[in-house]
Structure formats: structure tokens, C-alpha cells
Subunit: 311 residues, 2 copies
């Protein structure tokens, strides 16, 4: 009986691994370094060695394992083929086929890490009980994963759910990392909030606690909580952009819930106060009752979602 499943989340510096039972209880989790040299050729062999070692340690046979799910930082199409993962050094790789071969025929499923994390939050995190969900990760960048009827919306080439790069500002003069101008990520990521803050500090004479120390997404929202006027203005700008972006997503996808995670989400539910006004103003009425929740799995969302892909 296949009682176990492995969830693997491949990041640019570490690979997170989890061993789960079929109900989604984590039995063990651990990390190995990501060796990106030589086009990342060691990554999949390292993962297979780690999994086999864990199976030996726990006396788990191949027949006990339903499969191995893997999230990677790049587009993965419906056939489990990765189309370039820059942070891993990978060009096109048939993840499913190669890792299955390394694991002596064990079943492998692959997905984009942000999409996979969305699945994790649906299964065991802030989105439990919902089958139509949009996960939004506000970290260094803005990532996203869209779940439609319980399934990841992969898109034609694995680029589905790239919500950090939806266009929300026509008059931006600085380019986004992707090369476009006016992407959501330029205003709603940790770096984006810092940028908005620095702009606001320069444009205004207003006194602010932000003038006296480090300017970051964290210090901005700490200042918001302390009632700092300029910080509140910055939070409003952030919320206008993000609410507008999520409004567009809602009008297109009609989700039940948005699950907000990533470093910025540590500010907590105060974020929703700033997102909701523009969300409500710009969202089609039929989709306006989508709810907002905080992600709860943190950095483990990836291994949970990866495991869920197999079940």
C-alpha cells in the first residue's frame, strides 16, 4: 500500500524536502543545498539520493510511496517539462522523466513553485475548504498561483498565474525586472514598497519615523501601525495598486478566496484594510465577494503543495 508521498521544493540555494502520509501529516522534513554549478546537473541526482536515503532510514519501500511532487522556480508545462529555471541554471529539462528514471520508476509530478505553494495553501493552509483560490506571494517579487476547481491553472506554456507582472500603471518610468513598465511587482513586493516609500519621502516634507532609520516593507507597516501619516500614505498607494491588480484577477478568474503570503504578509490583516477599498471599487460585482485570508504555511507551502500534486 502506498502510504507515503514526498514533497520537494527546489529553491535557488536550498532544496526543501518533506515526507508526508496520505492525509497530509508531515512525518519528516529536511533540506539539502542546491548545487547550481554546471547547469544545475547535480540537482535531480541530489534529490534522488536524499529521497532514497530517507526511504532506507524509515524502512520505506518503493511500493509504499505514491509518488514525488516537485516545485521548481520556473515555468513547468502540463507534461512536467521545465522551460528554463534561471536560478537553478536549468535550460529545458524533462523533470518528470529524468527524476522518475533516477528514482527507479517512481511516479513524479512537477509544477511551478508559486503554483505549487498555492495548492499547498489550499490543502493545508489559509485556503482550506476552497477549490477556487488565488495565492499571492508578496516577497522580494510578487508571485502567484491560481487554483481552478482544485487544479493548478498551468496555462499553455506553464506561465499561468504570473500575477506579479500584470500591468497596473501606465506612467511608470523605471523598468520591472521582467523588462516591462508598470508591473504589479513594482509596487506590491517588499522591494516595491521600499521604492514607493523612498519616492514618498523625497516628494514630501512631512515628518515621519521612516526618516530616522531603515526603510523597508516591515518598517513601513510598523510605522502604519504606530499611526505615522506618511507611512499611511505609502500603504494607501501600495493598497491601491494591489487592490486594483487583485480586482482584475477576480473579474477574470472569479475566485472564492485570495490567500496572501510572503514576507510582506507578516504585517498581518492590516494589509487588507489598504487593499479592499480599491479592490471593491474596481472588481466586477459578480466577483466582489471574494474573501481575503493570510497564508499560514510560510516556507512549507511548497513541500505541502508538491506532495498534494501526487495525491
Amino acid at each position: 500500500m502506498a502510504n507515503y508521498v514526498f514533497g520537494v521544493d527546489v529553491g535557488g540555494t536550498t532544496v526543501k524536502l518533506g515526507l508526508f502520509d496520505q492525509s497530509g501529516t508531515v512525518i519528516d522534513k529536511w533540506e539539502i543545498p542546491t548545487r547550481t554549478e554546471n547547469g544545475g546537473e547535480k540537482i535531480l541526482p541530489d534529490i534522488s539520493v536524499a529521497i532514497k536515503a530517507k526511504m532506507a532510514e524509515k524502512s520505506i519501500t518503493k511500493e509504499d510511496v505514491a509518488g514525488v511532487g516537485v516545485g521548481v522556480p520556473g515555468p513547468v508545462d502540463g507534461n512536467g517539462i521545465v522551460h528554463r529555471a534561471v536560478n537553478l541554471g536549468w535550460a529545458e529539462i524533462d523533470l518528470k522523466k529524468e527524476l522518475t528514471a533516477l528514482l527507479d520508476g517512481m511516479r513524479v509530478e512537477g509544477g511551478n513553485d508559486a503554483n505549487v505553494a498555492a495548492l499547498g495553501e489550499m490543502w493545508k493552509g489559509g485556503g482550506q475548504g476552497h477549490k477556487n483560490l488565488v495565492a499571492v506571494t508578496l516577497g522580494t517579487g510578487v508571485g502567484g498561483g491560481i487554483i481552478v476547481n482544485g487544479e493548478i491553472m498551468t496555462g499553455a506554456t506553464g506561465a499561468g498565474g504570473e500575477i506579479g507582472h500584470i500591468h497596473v500603471e501606465d506612467h511608470e518610468t523605471e523598468a520591472c525586472g521582467c523588462g516591462n513598465y508598470g508591473c504589479l511587482e513594482e509596487y506590491a513586493s517588499a522591494t516595491g514598497i521600499t521604492r514607493l516609500a523612498n519616492r514618498a519621502l523625497k516628494a514630501s516634507d512631512k515628518d515621519s519615523v521612516l526618516r530616522k532609520g531603515e526603510v523597508s516593507a516591515k518598517t513601513v507597516f510598523d510605522a502604519v501601525k504606530a499611526g505615522d501619516e506618511l507611512a499611511i500614505e505609502i500603504a494607501k498607494q501600495f493598497g491601491d495598486y494591489l487592490g486594483k491588480g487583485l480586482g482584475v484577477i477576480a473579474s477574470i478568474v472569479n475566485p472564492e478566496i485570495f490567500v496572501i503570503g510572503g514576507g510582506v504578509s507578516k504585517a498581518g490583516e492590516v494589509l487588507f484594510e489598504y487593499i479592499k477599498p480599491s479592490f471593491e471599487k474596481t472588481t466586477f460585482h459578480g466577483s466582489r465577494n471574494a474573501i481575503f485570508a493570510l497564508a499560514t504555511l510560510g516556507n512549507d507551502a511548497g513541500i505541502y503543495g508538491a506532495a498534494r500534486m501526487v495525491l
Copy 2:
């Protein structure tokens, strides 16, 4: 053997019906009036009478029919429940259950008309060969249907694919029919183009053929083809908005193809010239290779898609 399927497209003034074989060849098509009085209580009985009469005429038994697909102008959830269809006078109606009962237990599937038309274009129209498709209908309003992996993206409450109401302009002063400000429909529908044209005519002194006759989406694009400078400016505005809107959709959904239909699409492929520049500028690179095609089924897309829902 179930060799036949009915496709029904319920509009505000007429109900279109089609009898198809399993391969999608239309055997017969006809229309009946939509009787919207008394909360539209006659509509489903009228449809069942029309279907039964056609079955009698063609000596088709219940066992010969795989089912009846129905598209309606309103949100329809995954259980076939219509959540208000204003043009039909309907409040909440269990379309699937009620029509099945009227048809002596025949299988019924229901969907939103724009979504169903998208399915039709995928099956037998401009989107053949593609499983990830966005259909855009530029008519009096802007409608849309999103197909993910061959299935309609219905959304949580049946409002999926409401692309006419994505927010594309922050500074609009006139409200959209939906009550919001700055919806795509305000610029890319036939009425929207007329509005852009009237604004441009008022704001400019430039001579234009549009000053001499009726101003409509058709006359604007006729003037574009004749090289009229002001009409070209209007087309550029239209294309900027629509390209930007479709760019956002592409970044979220990552489709293979956009299929453009509706009255405005009669202008032909010249539309793409005006859409593509802003589409390419605003779309995430991973989704930028989506292609554009014209819809080919016209007003029959609905009956084709409705039939396809059953197969």
C-alpha cells in the same frame, strides 16, 4: 445509441436552437422568440416544446439524444444554477434540474452564453486545435470566455471570464453599465469606440470623414482603412486599451490564442495591428507568444458551444 445533441443559446429576444450529430455537424437550426414576461417563466417550457417537436419531426427518440446544452446571458455556476439573468427576467433558477424535468429526464448542461460561445469557437471556430483559449466578444458590450485545458473556467459563482469589466483606466469620469469606472468595455465595445470617437472629434480640430456622417465602430474602422488620421488616432486609443486588457489576461491565464468576435470584429485583422503594440508592451514575456485570430462562427458560436458542453 445517442447520436444527437441539442445546442440552445438563450438570448433576450430569441432563443437559437441547433440539432447536431456527435461529430459537430449541424443537422438543423432554428429560432423561437424569448418570452420574458412573468419572470421569464415560459422560456424553459418553450425550449422543451421546441426540442420535443424537432425530435418528433425527425423521428428521434430520447435514447438517440446525448443531451441538451444551454447557454444563458447570466452567471451559471458549476451545478447548472443560474444566478440571475436580467435580460430573461430570471432570478435564481436551477436550469439543469428544471429543464431535465421538462424533457422527461434528458441530460441538460448549462453555462454562461459568453463562456459557451468560447467553447464553440474552440470546437468548430477560430480556435480549433487549441485547448487554452480566451474568446473576446466586442459587441454592444465586451464579453469573454476563458477555456483552460479544454474546459470552461466557470469561476466560484459563474462570473469567470468577465473580461469586459477588468479595470484599465484610473481616470474615467463616466460610469460603466456595471457601475464601476474605467472598465475595458467602456473603450473596446462598439459603444465604447463610438464614445472614444465622439470625445476625439470634440477634442480635436482635425478634419475627418467622421465629421460628415454617422459615428460608429464600423464607420471608424472604415475611415481607418481609408487612411483618415483622426480615425487612426481613435483606433490607437481603442487598441491601447484592449491590448493592455488582453495583456493582463495573458499574464494571468497564459492562453495559446485569443479569438476575437462580435460586431466590432467585422473590421477584420486590421484590429490586431492596433491591439498588438500595447499587448506586447504589457504582457509578461512567458505569455507574449499568444496568437490572435478572428472568430468564425458568428451568432452560431453559442449553439455550437452549448452542444459541445454535452459531449
